[in-house]
C-alpha cells in the first residue's frame, strides 16, 4: 500500500520505512513554535521537566504577535515572560516588535520552514506551512513544552482526503474563496483527524499566497494538516527565502484516500462565511443585503502582499462608505515595507482606511478593532465564532481581500465585480 505525502514526511521523521493510517509514531521535529498566548503556558510546563535548556536553540521560534504590541499590562507581562525565556535560553528565532510579524507569515519569510520539514506550533494555524510541502500542525502548550525539551512529538498517522484541482480562478476569486467553498462543502469537522492533500493540474494556477491561505484554514475543517505538492512555484519561493535544500516528498500513485474530491477552480465563486461557523458559506450572488460596520484586511490567512494588492486594486480611486471603519494589517514588517514601496498605503489611506503594524489583534478579539454589540465586520481572517471579534452579539463574515475591499466601498457585503464595473 502506498503512502500519502503527509505519511511519507511522518515516516521519514520517525526513521521508519513506511507508516499506515492510525499508527502511533514518535517523530523528530524541525521547528517548535509558540506565541505570546500559548508560550507562557508552555514555559511553565517546561519548568516542570527539570531540563536546563531547549533541545536546539535554532529550532524553537517564539513570536509575540497576538496581544502585541502589548495591549494591556497583563499582556505585557506575558510578552515579557516570552522575552525573558528567549534570552535565558538563547533562542535564535525570537522576533520582537520591530522584527515581528504574524507568526505563520513570518516563519516562511524568514526561511525557517522548508519543504519536507516537520513542524509543530502552539497555534492552530500552524498548518499554514503545508503550502511549502511541509507537514505542520497545531498543538497545545504542553506538547510545545515537550517538543522544546526533547525535539520530538508523538503523532497518530492521519488518513487523507485528496482534493483534485483543475482549471484556474475567474477574476476576483482567490485561495480564500476556494478554502471557504471546501469548508462549506465538507463542514467544520469534515476532515477531522485527517490530512487535506491538494493535487492535480490546477495547483500550478495557485500562487504561493493562495496556497498559504488554503493550507492555513485546513484546521477550520478539523484537519490535522493541509499540504500542497512541491512544484516550480514552491521552489521559486523557497530559493528566495530558505537557505536549506528542499526535501521533496510526493504521494505514491497507489496511496489510499478516504475521499477524493474533484474541484474545477473556474467554477468557484467569491464566497462568504456567515456567522457563526466557517462552514456557513454563501456564494456572493446569494448574500442578500448585509450592512456592515467594519472591514478587516490582514491576518495569517490573508495578510500577504498579494492579498494587499488585491484589496488595493479594488479600493484605488474610491472612498470607503462613511459608516465603515477599514483596518489593514500587513502580516510582517517586510510585507509592510513592500506594500508601502508599491504605493499601496497611499491607495488605502486616500480611500479612508487605517494601516496598522502587524498583529493578530482583531482576528481573535484581542485588540485593534473590537466590535460592539450588534456590529458586523467583513474580515479576511479565519474564524467567525460567537464573540470571536468582540461582543457576544457582534457578527463576523469571512471573505477574500477582494470581497472585503468591495464591501468597504459600498458598506454592504458586495461582489467585487459590481464595484469594478461602475
Amino acid at each position: 500500500m502506498g503512502m500519502t505525502m503527509t505519511q511519507k514526511i511522518l515516516a521519514s521523521h520517525a526513521k521508519l520505512e513506511s507508516v499506515r493510517a492510525g499508527q502511533l509514531i514518535m517523530a523528530d521535529l524541525d521547528m517548535v513554535l509558540g506565541n505570546d498566548i500559548t508560550a507562557p503556558v508552555a514555559i511553565n510546563e517546561f519548568a516542570k521537566f527539570g531540563k536546563k535548556t531547549v533541545f536546539d536553540k535554532d529550532k524553537v521560534a517564539l513570536v509575540p504577535d497576538h496581544f502585541s504590541p502589548n495591549k494591556d499590562i497583563k499582556a505585557a507581562q506575558q510578552c515579557k515572560a516570552l522575552r525573558t525565556f528567549a534570552k535565558d535560553h538563547e533562542i535564535t528565532n525570537y522576533f520582537d516588535v520591530g522584527q515581528m510579524g504574524i507568526e505563520h507569515a513570518l516563519l516562511p519569510e524568514k526561511g525557517l520552514v522548508g519543504a519536507g520539514d516537520l513542524v509543530i506550533g502552539a497555534d492552530s494555524h500552524t498548518c499554514t506551512y503545508g503550502a511549502l510541502g511541509a507537514f505542520s500542525t497545531g498543538v497545545g502548550s504542553t506538547d510545545m513544552a515537550c517538543g522544546m525539551a526533547t525535539g520530538q512529538a508523538w503523532f497518530k498517522v492521519p488518513s487523507a482526503i485528496k482534493f483534485n484541482l483543475s482549471g484556474s480562478f475567474n477574476e476576483y476569486v482567490s485561495g480564500k474563496d476556494l478554502i471557504l467553498h471546501i469548508i462549506g462543502m465538507i463542514g467544520v469537522d469534515g476532515a477531522l483527524y485527517q490530512s487535506m492533500e491538494f493535487a492535480g493540474e490546477g495547483v500550478k494556477n495557485l500562487t504561493i499566497d493562495d496556497r498559504f491561505t488554503v493550507a492555513n484554514m485546513a484546521i477550520e475543517a478539523g484537519a490535522k494538516n493541509g499540504i500542497f505538492p512541491v512544484d516550480e512555484i514552491t521552489l521559486e519561493y523557497l530559493s528566495a527565502h530558505c537557505p536549506r535544500k528542499p526535501v521533496i516528498y510526493e504521494a505514491d500513485a497507489d496511496a489510499e484516500y478516504e475521499r477524493v474530491i474533484d474541484i474545477d477552480l473556474s467554477t468557484i465563486k467569491s464566497t462568504v462565511s456567515f456567522p457563526h461557523l466557517p462552514s456557513n458559506t454563501r456564494t456572493i450572488d446569494n448574500v442578500g443585503e448585509v450592512k456592515i460596520d467594519q472591514v478587516v484586511i490582514g491576518s495569517c490567512t490573508n495578510g500577504h502582499i498579494s492579498d494587499l494588492r488585491q484589496a488595493a486594486a479594488i479600493l484605488k480611486g474610491k472612498q470607503v462608505a462613511p459608516w465603515v471603519r477599514v483596518l489593514i494589517f500587513p502580516a510582517t514588517q517586510k510585507i509592510w515595507k513592500q506594500a508601502m514601496g508599491e504605493g499601496l498605503f497611499d491607495i488605502f489611506v486616500d480611500s479612508g482606511c487605517a494601516v496598522s503594524t502587524p498583529t493578530c489583534g482583531p482576528c481573535l478579539g484581542g485588540h485593534m478593532g473590537i466590535l460592539a454589540e450588534g456590529e458586523r465586520s467583513v474580515s479576511t481572517t479565519n474564524r467567525n465564532f460567537v464573540g470571536r471579534m468582540g461582543h457576544v452579539k457582534s457578527e463576523v463574515y469571512l471573505a477574500s481581500p477582494s470581497v472585503a475591499a468591495a464591501s468597504a466601498v459600498t458598506g454592504y457585503i458586495t461582489d467585487p465585480a459590481k464595484v469594478m464595473e461602475v
Binding site: 498566548i37 527539570g50 504542553t142 470571536r388
Partner: protein, 165 residues
C-alpha cells in the same frame, strides 16, 4: 478512577472561543481563566457548576484554537469529565495532556440530558446515567492514562517518571 456529578449539556461545535474567550487570554492563571469558562454561550455555567460536575456535548467539541487555556478553564471550574460524540483533535490532545479526562461516546450523549446525574468509571469505561438508570459503554482508560490524569497531566507524569528512573 471515578467521577460523578450533574450534567451541563451542550450541542455541536462548541468552540474554544466560547469555552474561554480570547479577551481573557492575557493571563495563564488557572483560577482567572475558570471564572470566564463558557461565558459566551452559558453565562450561568460558572455560577452553577460544582466540583465533580460533568459536561456532555454533541460532535466536534473544542474546535478552533489550540489554546490549552480551554481545557484548563474547564478543569479548574470543577468539571471532572467531558463526554462528547467527537472532539476536535487539538482539544483532545490538550485535555489529556493537562489531565482533564474526556470520553467519546455517542450513545451516552444521546441518552443524557441537562441536569441528569451521571457517573463514570474510567477503568471499565462505564458511563451510568443515575437519573434514568441507563448504562453506556465507552473505551476504558488504560492504566498509564489514569496515572497521567492522577499526576495532573503529561508534565507531571514525565516529571514523576524522571524521578523513578
Amino acid at each position: 478512577m471515578k467521577a460523578k456529578g450533574t450534567v451541563f449539556r451542550y450541542g455541536d461545535n462548541v468552540d474554544t472561543d466560547v469555552i474561554i474567550p480570547a479577551r481573557y487570554l492575557n493571563t495563564s492563571n488557572h483560577k482567572e481563566l475558570a471564572q470566564h469558562c463558557m461565558e459566551d454561550i452559558d453565562a450561568d455555567f460558572i455560577k452553577q457548576v460544582k466540583e465533580g460536575d460533568i459536561m456532555v456535548a454533541d460532535k466536534n467539541f473544542g474546535c478552533g484554537s489550540s489554546r490549552e487555556h480551554a481545557p484548563i478553564a474547564i478543569k479548574e471550574s470543577g468539571i471532572s469529565c467531558v463526554i462528547a460524540k467527537t472532539f476536535a483533535r487539538i482539544f483532545y490532545r490538550n485535555a489529556i495532556n493537562i489531565g482533564l479526562p474526556i470520553l467519546e461516546c455517542p450513545s451516552a450523549v444521546e441518552g443524557i440530558k441537562a441536569g441528569d446525574v451521571v457517573s463514570v468509571d474510567f477503568s471499565s469505561g462505564t458511563i451510568t446515567n443515575e437519573t434514568t438508570g441507563t448504562v453506556f459503554k465507552s473505551e476504558p482508560f488504560p492504566p498509564f492514562m489514569q496515572d497521567l490524569i492522577a499526576c495532573g497531566g503529561l508534565a507531571g507524569y514525565i516529571a514523576k517518571k524522571g524521578e523513578q528512573a
